[in-house]
């Protein structure tokens, strides 16, 4: 192995320098305040979990997890997502309380990247989980909260695509008859490979009517009228219930006044295999990757011993920040420079400024090597040098 440069970090790990940190903090604060305003409570879980519990449940691909051994020889993983740890906490501790519970988190997750080096392998997710409520009201609340949080964080142009895995699975199972045939077909939707999907359907031994039903699934995109088209593909009542869920969701989102931000896409799938019903993906202008996703995962908590329905979403803080464009704002930061004989005066001055909410550094001028370069870092500089008695001068 090549010798490392002393400043190097493991691939995909990044430092966050002050200006970027400030912006990250401000976006995080605005979103957290909105979560809290809706009655969600923040919690923290450890970065390190067991592979056999969280690693197994999380369904991020095995090779994407950072693994290590603990002192007893158990394989541990750096948490690849937050949903599984929260399901663990909820099943073991929270559900003794009154259900449903509303949980929020803001934490780094770790995913080793296969592709070109340098893609973030540690990134912060901020999200919520609503556990113990199976109603559509819970799902619509989440989507409305998602929209409201993005608005509070300053985003205006964004789009949420909503799908329903349960509907697609039911419809495909009705046509194809066997689970493994359904999985083969779903794989193409998950890879967003419509060409492959069409080729695969055409290669199946099926009546032309049924082939057409499968191909028509690709057309199930748009607004409410999609539900009618989808209903037309069903041959019996199975699946109707799922479409009713979507219908009810759209109605409730209209009540929130959020309907202009959402569209339906019944081909939507997700790599996270614990999603069982409604699911969604979020896109904002300014970045070419999804900034967040979420959905219902009614079977995940069962793995931790508590059969409770749950729904949630996570936003990627790093991508939201990227979508905001280059950092231009200058940090409001002041400095008071003093010579030792006027230190008392300077101390008094910064005390007052700090009490007034300003951010101000106190610096002995004899400790500064290049004064011009140093003062450039500050928006305002106050001098307490030379003869005493004068007020701090401004630059």
């Amino acid at each position: 192995m090549q010798k490392l440069f002393m400043f190097e970090k493991p691939v995909g790990m990044r430092d966050t320098l002050p200006l970027l940190y400030e912006r990250k903090k401000s976006v995080r604060n605005r979103i957290s305040e909105e979560f809290e305003a809706w009655g969600y409570q923040f919690l923290e879980t450890p970065a390190l979990e067991y592979f056999d519990t969280i690693g197994e449940a999380s369904s991020i691909q095995n090779q994407q997890m950072f693994k290590l051994l603990d002192q007893q020889g158990h394989t541990a993983v750096l948490r690849p997502d937050m949903t599984a740890p929260i399901a663990r906490v909820a099943a073991s501790q929270l559900l003794k309380q009154q259900m449903p519970v509303r949980i929020a988190y803001s934490a780094s997750v770790y995913r080793a990247q296969q592709k070109e080096g340098g893609r973030a392998a540690e990134f912060e997710q901020i999200g919520v989980e609503l556990i113990g409520d199976s109603t559509i009201s819970a799902d619509s609340e989440l989507i409305a909260l998602l929209i409201s949080s993005l608005q509070k964080a300053g985003f205006q142009e964004f789009q949420i695509a909503i799908g329903h895995i349960g509907f697609i699975q039911t419809l495909m199972l009705d046509i194809l008859g066997r689970e493994e045939r359904v999985h083969a077909l779903l794989r193409f939707l998950n890879e967003r490979n419509y060409v492959g999907y069409i080729e695969h359907v055409n290669s199946l031994q099926l009546a032309n009517m049924d082939k057409k039903r499968l191909l028509d699934i690709l057309e199930l995109k748009g607004s409410g009228e999609v539900l009618e088209k989808a209903a037309g593909l069903l041959e019996n009542d199975q699946g109707t219930e799922k479409l009713n869920e979507l219908d009810e969701l759209l109605q409730q989102l209209a009540e929130y006044g959020s309907d202009q931000y959402v569209s339906l896409d019944l081909t939507l799938m997700n790599d996270l295999s614990y999603y069982s019903g409604l699911l969604f993906e979020v896109y904002t202008a300014g970045i070419n990757f999804p900034v967040g996703n979420g959905g219902r995962y009614n079977s995940l908590l069962k793995k931790f011993g508590s059969d409770s329905p749950a729904t949630g979403f996570a936003l990627r803080l790093d991508r939201l920040i990227e979508a905001m464009g280059p950092v231009q704002e200058k940090l409001q930061l002041e400095c008071a420079l003093f010579t030792p004989e006027r230190k008392q005066e300077a101390l008094e001055f910064v005390r007052n400024r700090r009490a007034g909410g300003r951010r101000i550094a106190l610096q002995d001028i004899t400790g500064v090597s290049g004064l011009d370069a140093y003062t450039k870092n500050y928006t305002e500089v106050h001098y307490f040098i030379g003869a005493s008695g004068k007020d701090g001068g401004h630059e």
Binding site: Q159, R192, V195, G196, S263, Y283, I287, N288, F289, P290
Partner: protein
């Protein structure tokens, strides 16, 4: 600029066939288009911007979102495995990926070597066959490899078979059929959904029926 749809196009043979298809679909493209040496061409009246790229790079541009959509060979998609929507089979630039080598030769059991511009495809294919091989990545003139003893087999695209023939090589196995595809960036597909769907519809109506 935001109302423009940016399309990454591969330079060379696929480009001309793709332009013909776009013209048939009713997009008015100037006739001097093909001769231009510009890398970025804006069409104000169609609100289209074309980026001319190396075929292998089209998938990267679209995945990263500097292009909303693009036209890429299936060979590139198999090799690069980009996270994009594969929307439409344009059925142009038809060819296939194949294993080729000198006639009547077998693979060296001790150290089987395969040369290819498509290391991912090649290694995936031989793993599926249960064969352990060493893949040597080359960037062009792959046919040279068996002639000079670098590798016993090559994995490459074959359209008419003429290049193979002229170099005295024969095709051993066919890996997969290749045509050009219309691909889209994940976010663009949501945020510019109307324009992309319209292009898919217009192109789909002029694509030659399956042979």
């Amino acid at each position: 600029m935001n109302d423009f749809l940016t399309m990454a196009m591969p330079k060379g043979r696929i480009f001309e066939e793709a332009l013909e298809l776009l013209r048939m679909a009713g997009y008015s493209l100037p006739s001097e288009f093909e001769e231009s040496r510009k890398l970025i061409i804006d069409l104000e009246e169609e609100k289209l911007r074309f980026i001319l790229a190396k075929p292998m790079d089209v998938a990267v541009y679209v995945e990263q979102g500097v292009a909303d959509i693009g036209i890429a060979g299936k060979d590139v998609l198999l090799e690069e495995e980009p996270d994009v929507y594969e929307l439409l089979d344009l059925r142009i630039s038809r060819c296939h990926l194949a294993v080729a080598g000198l006639p009547n030769t077998s693979v060296n059991e001790a150290a089987p070597k395969i040369a290819s511009k498509y290391p991912t495809v090649a290694s995936h294919y031989f793993r599926e066959q249960g064969e352990q091989v060493e893949i040597i990545k080359l960037n062009g003139s792959i046919e040279l490899a068996p002639l000079i003893g670098l590798a016993e087999r090559i994995v490459d695209i074959v359209s008419t078979g003429q290049t193979l023939h002229e170099n005295g090589l024969v095709e051993y196995e066919r890996i997969s059929e290749i045509t050009s595809r219309l691909i889209a960036n994940r976010a663009s597909y949501r945020l510019k959904e109307g324009r992309i769907t319209e292009m898919v519809r217009r192109l789909a109506s002029v694509i030659p029926a399956q042979a």
